[in-house]
């Protein structure tokens, strides 16, 4: 997985100064969390279903090897093929060789985070294949050479006029020469361009929201209908998905469908939910002749039996992003990973290397909103803490931070010393305060980073401990 999370801090600064991004994030934060709250209020069974969904996933993970084999058996019985990829390189090679075996030239693709994780499309393009993303958001960022900034709304960082500029630049060779201003016209133009692609594609590639072991069915959820056109028209359908997507039965799928759209966008269900089982039947009029499922491990199995196992329950709904004060301030690109927000802060160090991604689990206020909205109860703050501990154990923090933490621990073990330093500290801080307002607006040196963006309350002249002692003394005197 391509990751540039090392640049987290400069990217955050860029994001905070980007007004158009800030406007988009503002809309995202207000819109989705409000809608989710309303959808949950209208569904009395929601919490019960969340508990059940957590338990179903935990059960599947406990029996993952068997469920995957059951799934494989069913897909094979129905005439499909299952391929296993230990890592991203293998996954890319499998997909490429399947395309080459069919002499494919053109590929339509519906949205899939696993294909982003394994950088599939650039790889196929490098091998001379014409692979086009058909989810509107993915299509826009593909034209712009960007990566998704949100796991379900990949182009959420862009404004309408940026999209209009992109289409104007990139569609003129297709005979679209007018600069559009209305959203409906932009959607219409993309529809026209992509309709031709759907009809002419040799291969359709999709992800899967769920894999149903009992029937060998893959479940796909979209609002646009692009997944259906991607999977119904070409001669070959390749599903690329993670091994953790497995669930036992169609009944279990029903439970997850009830949670997914409500958690993601506050809708009761998405416009289209497709249950695809095997290739075209002999008598069918459409559907692919060849049906392949590529099961990607890429670091997932390593999470089993560890504290990170809980993360494998994730159904990629994006509720944790939509409710995260950090994500909503900096957007997805700052994370330098296709997985952003709290779930990205947990997954990215696993799918790349902790050295690369160590900043991400630190970018949290630990407010706990992510965990409180997660439909499968993933303890995201705890998992971010897991990486922070690993970071410390591996000696990856900067020296100043390590010494800082050591000093902090030392002070906590020696109350007298802590008290002395605290009294000294507040006296020094007091010197910077403005008597009239009661605030410090500028501190020197490193501490200036704090006051750059916010004011600091002037501390009282004595510490809490000494105030407490004085109070106790006075009380005793009174009692005597």
């Amino acid at each position: 997985m391509q990751v540039n999370s090392k640049d987290f801090i400069p990217l955050v600064n860029l994001a905070l100064d980007n007004n158009s991004l800030q406007a988009s994030l503002g809309m995202l934060g207000k819109g989705l969390s409000f809608k989710r709250t309303a959808a949950v209020a209208d569904f009395p069974e929601f919490d019960q279903l969340r508990d059940e969904a957590r338990d179903i996933k935990d059960h599947c993970l406990q029996y993952l090897d068997i469920y995957l084999m059951k799934f494989e058996e069913q897909v094979t019985n129905k005439g499909g093929h299952v391929h296993w990829a230990s890592n991203e390189g293998e996954a890319r090679e499998i997909v490429l060789s399947l395309c080459q075996a069919e002499n494919a030239r053109t590929i339509t693709k519906s949205k899939s985070m696993v294909t982003e994780e394994i950088d599939l499309v650039p790889f196929l393009e490098d091998h001379g294949l014409d692979a086009v993303e058909t989810d509107l958001g993915e299509y826009i960022i593909q034209l712009r050479g960007e990566r998704p900034s949100h796991i379900i709304a990949p182009a959420v960082h862009l404004s309408k006029s940026q999209v209009a500029d992109t289409f104007f630049d990139q569609h003129s060779n297709l005979g679209f020469n007018e600069k559009l201003t209305e959203r409906v016209d932009l959607v219409g133009e993309a529809r026209q361009v992509l309709r031709e692609k759907f009809l002419g594609a040799d291969v359709g590639i999709s992800g899967a929201n769920f894999l149903v072991a009992d029937t060998g069915t893959i479940v796909l959820v979209t609002n646009e209908g692009n997944a259906e056109l991607t999977t119904a028209i070409p001669e070959t359908h390749i599903v690329v998905t993670g091994i953790e997507k497995i669930i036992p039965t169609l009944e279990d799928a029903s439970t997850f469908i009830r949670l997914l759209a409500r958690s993601a966008v506050g809708a009761e269900i998405s416009a289209y939910t497709s249950f695809i089982t095997g290739p075209r039947r002999e008598e069918d009029q459409d559907g692919p002749k060849n049906f392949h499922v590529v099961l990607v491990d890429n670091g997932r199995s390593e999470m089993l039996g560890t504290e990170l196992q809980d993360m494998l329950r994730c159904i990629r709904c994006s509720a944790c992003l939509n409710h995260c004060p950090v994500y909503l301030s900096i957007g997805g690109h700052a994370y330098g990973s296709v997985y952003s927000g709290p779930m990205g802060a947990v997954l990215t160090p696993q799918f790349s290397r902790l050295e690369e991604a160590k900043q991400l689990p630190n970018a949290s206020t630990f407010c706990g909103r992510c965990e409180s909205v997660c439909p499968v109860h993933i303890p995201l703050p705890k998992l971010m803490r897991h990486w922070r501990n690993k970071e410390f154990e591996a000696g990856l923090n900067p020296l100043s931070m390590r010494w800082g933490l050591r000093a902090w621990a030392l002070l906590n073990r020696h109350p007298l010393l802590q008290h002395m330093l605290a009294s000294l500290g507040i006296r020094i801080l007091g010197l910077f305060g403005n008597k009239a307002t009661g605030y410090i607006i500028k501190l020197p040196g490193l501490a200036g980073n704090w006051t750059k963006d916010r004011d600091f309350r002037t501390p009282p002249s004595t510490t809490f401990m000494s105030q407490w002692k004085t109070m106790q003394k006075n009380r005793q005197k009174k009692e005597v």
Binding site: P154, A155, R183, E196, T249, E251, A271, Y272, F275, T277
Partner: protein, 214 residues
């Protein structure tokens, strides 16, 4: 081989044994029983309430719904929805007779997957009331793409085809799943540009359902 490698790694991390037959039995009995989880109470009410619920939810999802008592003039109902103008209709309906002889402005066209199709009319496998979702399925008569390529999609649905919960679909299909079953809840839409909903992203811009009473 990656298959063995992955399965072995999973077992190692879970600290389980591939020879352990009890694990296999746990999975097999869970699959054989395929018990439902909690089914929302709204899915279990009288059939006429379910029909109302279907309509309410479909309308909330921006589909339009019209209810008629019988199938005597479905052609007229369709034309009433389309309004004035001349239309090309692509029809794939098995259950009902559609008569457009009274409408000279109407032309019917043969189905082939193509980039511009005006109006597609079909019947469907059924519907689920809980979220106002049509259930369409691929079959000998019904190519899945038929439901996606028209600008407008009109679907004929008999009242008694409306089920309560998703689980009711599986009771009827599990043993012989068609290649595709799609729940359709409203017209195709996208919020990918500035989070504002637009219709007709790739599928139909309008979805109209005629519910036929029994």
């Amino acid at each position: 081989m990656s298959r063995t490698e992955i399965l072995d790694r999973i077992r190692k991390k879970l600290a389980v044994d591939s020879e352990d037959k009890t694990r296999l039995q746990v999975v097999e009995s869970r699959l054989a029983n395929h018990l439902p989880n909690t089914i929302p109470s709204r899915c279990r009410q009288s059939h006429s309430d379910l029909v109302d619920l279907f309509q309410e939810k479909m309308e909330k999802a921006h589909g339009t719904v019209n209810r008629v008592n019988n199938d005597t003039d479905l052609g007229g109902e369709i034309m009433a929805y389309l309004g004035d103008g001349s239309f090309e209709l692509c029809i794939n309906v098995l259950e009902f007779e559609l008569d457009f002889s009274a409408y000279s402005s109407v032309q019917t066209v043969e189905w082939t997957p193509r980039s511009s199709l005006d109006i597609c009319i079909s019947d469907c496998f059924g519907a689920v009331a809980e979220t106002g979702s049509l259930v369409i399925s691929s079959s000998k008569q019904m190519p899945l793409s038929f439901n996606f390529l028209g600008e407008k999609h009109i679907v004929l649905l008999k009242e008694d085809q409306i089920m309560g919960a998703y689980e009711d679909i599986w009771a009827r299909t599990r043993n012989d799943m068609p290649r595709d079953i799609t729940l359709v809840s409203g017209p195709s839409c996208t919020g990918d540009i500035e989070m504002i909903m637009e219709f007709g992203a790739h599928g139909p811009k309008e979805l109209h359902i005629i519910i036929i009473g029994s």
